[in-house]
């Protein structure tokens, strides 16, 4: 139709949209339904999860991390040998690139579908204590807590890095 020649009833064409499925995802009550499962995609890069038994403490993830977010630390109560060190991830640095997952030789480090990671410091903290509080909360030692909800996982065969 040429410019300015529209029918006077053309605003009524909006009525057809009443019968379409709404685009809006009413999030807390309803989840995204695009992929095979509800929620985020199967390759989603969320919060890390680490199989503590499989991890050999090699430190590949620490070396590849582009933003110095991963530090190999000794979990409490384990003896001080090289193999006992586990990656601790600073979510105040992490950029969720999943290079650490790609590089992991034993496929122990994975990314889960969890994305909600918030922190609010108590009101009574002041003079920079609240900043430290949030930083400490964001320093997180991944365990197998989210192993049942895996997101980005690289199998041994598909490796590009490492």
């Amino acid at each position: 139709m040429a410019l300015g020649e529209k029918s006077i009833s053309s605003p009524l064409s909006a009525i057809k949209n009443l019968f379409k499925k709404p685009v809006t995802v009413r999030y807390p009550n309803e989840e995204l339904e695009v992929y095979s499962e509800k929620g985020v995609s199967e390759r989603f890069r969320g919060v890390h999860s680490n199989d503590m038994a499989k991890c050999i403490g090699c430190g590949s993830c620490e070396r590849i991390c582009p933003v110095n977010a991963i530090v190999m630390t000794l979990p409490e109560g384990s003896e001080d040998t090289r193999k006992q060190y586990r990656p601790k991830i600073d979510y105040g640095r992490c950029c969720f690139c999943a290079f650490c997952v790609d590089v992991c030789p034993t496929v122990s480090l994975k990314m889960s579908k969890e994305y909600d990671f918030t922190s609010a410091a108590p009101m009574k903290l002041r003079d920079g204590e609240e900043v430290k509080f949030v930083m400490d909360e964001f320093n997180y030692l991944p365990t197998d807590k989210y192993d049942d909800n895996p997101g980005y996982v690289t199998g041994k065969k598909k490796k590009v890095l490492g």
């Binding site: 685009v23 809006t24 995802v25 009413r26 999030y27 807390p28 995204l32 985020v40 919060v47 582009p66 933003v67 110095n68 600073d90 979510y91 105040g92 640095r93 992490c94 950029c95 969720f96 969890e114 994305y115 909600d116 990671f117 918030t118 922190s119 609010a120 410091a121 108590p122 009101m123 009574k124 002041r126 003079d127 920079g128 609240e130 900043v131 949030v134 930083m135 909360e137 964001f138 997180y140």
Partner: protein, 204 residues
């Protein structure tokens, strides 16, 4: 699902507010207006939540153009030194009560720009933050979750970081001065600087 429980026991003080305050807080929590200011790259996830897909207006949150009418300041990602100056100015212009959401890892410990010469590492050192959300960048769902949490915090009267800015202004001011009011070069290597005679005037 949430990993860190924001409402830890210490936060839950005795609720001795008057009934009127409780009623105001309830209605306030249902009409939070956020300032439409894209400070960093995290702002890219704001259009989706503001428009029809995620539709944040369901929670009574509306983007607002001027700081004078806004309740929430969103720090979307890294803040460069220049932006931090403008953020502080904006924050001081906002009327109370006001709340700040920092989102993206860059606002907590520098994020991927931790060693950059022009980005602030901890936004919380310059203005008080109510709630922080990790992610680079956070998903719209995560932002919506945070908004719901903030609404609950406003309702229960827990979110009062803006009072800290008044009570503890000395601390924030000292940090701001350290960043902006520099009078001399920071590194010794600055003595190597070559200044062209003709440009000396125009550079200042």
């Amino acid at each position: 699902m949430q990993i860190i429980n924001y409402a830890d026991e210490e936060r839950r003080q005795e609720d001795n507010r008057k009934l009127w305050d409780k009623v105001t807080a309830y209605f306030r929590s249902r009409s939070l207006w956020m300032l439409h200011y894209c400070t960093g790259c995290g702002a890219m996830e704001l259009p989706p939540i503001m428009t029809s897909r995620w539709d944040i207006e369901r929670f009574g949150i509306v983007p607002m153009a001027t700081p004078r009418q806004a309740d929430i300041l969103l720090l979307t990602g890294y803040a460069s030194t220049n932006t931090m100056k403008r953020i502080i100015r904006t924050y001081e212009q906002m009327p109370e009560p006001k709340w700040v959401i920092a989102f993206g890892s860059c606002t907590v410990n520098g994020g991927m720009y931790w060693d950059s010469y022009n980005t602030v590492n901890n936004v919380g050192e310059y203005i008080p933050i109510d709630i922080t959300i990790a992610g680079c960048m956070p998903r719209p769902e995560a932002i919506l979750d945070t908004m719901v949490k903030l609404m609950n915090m406003v309702k229960s009267g827990d979110a009062k970081a803006f009072q800290k800015y008044k009570d503890n202004y000395g601390y924030y001011k000292a940090n701001q001065d350290k960043l902006f009011a520099r009078t001399a070069p920071v590194l010794e290597s600055a003595s190597l600087k070559y200044v062209h005679n003709e440009t000396e005037g125009s550079e200042q």
